[in-house]
């Protein structure tokens, strides 16, 4: 299971270049990392919800997917992939597929397609326990339609439907805790992760969690932070600086829940103040205006509370 980049680099690439995501987008980095956790000999059927990832990776007749791929709509990646998985079971049972053929079923959805409009379909698929992995690439807004707020958008972020106005300063609500909602489905494996810089072990955390999710039987869920330089407003080279600071401030805690048992994957020696996360991104610029200090305090309080809660639930101390 140990992550050896050299060995992983020998595997065939499953997402080709030539897709149309923006330069520096976090989503394809996440997708590549998840798919790299597949055994080279295993076939995959991949589904994507409508969103930046889907419209950019499969514009007729150009598909960036080297595996079988299906998109059908925005809110139904969970249901769509569950149908493909049911087909696999039936076809195996009827001898329509070779007995030794392994196909893994993986769905990707943005935060909009997962936390919001696709939540019902996802919940249904997870509850039914199809042998599949659902991966949310969370960039904290509906990026494809022009950076509108979602229930994953952090509090006070400036988006096009929660603009930082003079009387309402950005999004008013706290993020929904989707990973907890998924854990409440009693799934065999649920994890929160991100692609990280070398000081955090690079892609080890994401790779190992993806591997566990793919090769644990049943419905598994990954919530992966996938920064969007356009919506977050930072310079493209800094992708992994964004995720590094998100985990060092505990804005995006890394953990996994195996059969209900929660383990924090990373506990920073010294938790950094949220300012460091906020100041790196243009969408939070207004919280640094004079008189808005209370916003930063509020965000810090929320982060502290969720982090404390996770520390208390951490079963591997």
């Amino acid at each position: 299971m140990a992550f050896k980049l050299k060995e992983e680099a020998l595997k065939p690439e499953r997402l080709t270049g030539g897709h149309r995501m923006c330069a520096g987008c976090g989503a394809p980095v996440v997708v590549r990392a998840v798919l790299r956790a597949l055994k080279a000999e295993d076939q995959a059927v991949i589904c994507s919800a409508t969103g930046c990832l889907e419209v950019s990776t499969f514009m007729y007749p150009y598909t960036a997917w080297n595996d079988s791929f299906i998109h059908s709509a925005f809110e139904n990646a969970g249901a769509t992939i569950s149908g493909a998985e049911a087909a696999y079971k039936a076809m195996k049972k009827k001898g329509k597929l070779p007995a030794d053929q392994t196909i893994k079923f993986i769905a990707f959805g943005g935060d909009g397609g997962t936390y919001d409009i696709g939540l019902q379909s996802l919940s249904g698929a997870m509850e039914r326990g199809h042998d599949m992995v659902y991966v949310c690439y969370d960039n904290g807004a509906y990026m494809n339609t022009g950076i509108q707020r979602s229930s994953a958008t952090p509090r006070f972020a400036d988006t096009t439907t929660s603009p930082a106005g003079s009387s309402v300063p950005g999004k008013q609500q706290q993020r929904k805790d989707l990973t907890a909602i998924m854990a409440a489905h009693h799934l065999p494996y649920v994890a929160q992760t991100a692609p990280l810089g070398s000081k955090h072990g690079g892609f080890k955390d994401l790779h190992e969690k993806a591997e566990k999710a793919i090769y644990t039987e049943g419905a598994c869920f990954l919530n992966v932070l996938a920064p969007c330089p356009r919506g977050w407003r930072y310079d493209t080279p800094k992708l992994l600086e964004m995720t590094d600071i998100a985990v060092d401030t505990c804005v995006w805690p890394l953990y996994e829940i195996v059969d209900g048992k929660l383990t924090l994957s990373y506990i920073p020696k010294e938790k950094k103040p949220v300012e460091e996360y906020l100041k790196a991104q243009g969408r939070f610029r207004h919280v640094f205006k004079k008189g808005n200090e209370w916003m930063i305090e509020e965000i810090q309080k929320e982060v502290d509370r969720t982090w404390e809660d996770l520390l208390n639930r951490n079963e591997t101390k």
Partner: protein, 99 residues
């Protein structure tokens, strides 16, 4: 070599693939996204220590790796985001303005 070899501009409705199905995996590699680039990563082979850190960080699968070794950059698809240069611990990738 192009993966899709039909006449894209003149394909008849009779010949187009039903429902938009594409039976050519990875056909997007025909699309040259290198043209989007304003900065270009230049790899310095001599400085490179073959740690491969640049390989997974690329959103465009544009770090060419062969037999476990970094061998160059796929300029057909690299969009010049600079993540590889930012993450290379040995300063072996430098971003320069596209000429």
């Amino acid at each position: 070599m192009k993966k899709i070899n039909w006449d894209l501009n003149n394909i008849s409705w009779k010949d187009i693939t039903p429902g938009g199905i594409v039976e050519v995996p990875g056909s997007a590699s025909d699309t040259i996204t290198g043209e989007w680039r304003s900065d270009k990563p230049i790899w310095d082979k001599d400085k490179c220590k073959q740690c491969l850190i640049c390989f997974p960080v690329c959103p465009d699968s544009s770090i060419n790796v062969s037999e476990g070794k970094m061998v160059g950059i796929d300029y057909d698809h690299c969009k010049g985001c600079g993540i590889c240069a930012n993450q290379c611990p040995f300063g072996a990738i430098e971003m320069v303005r596209e000429g």
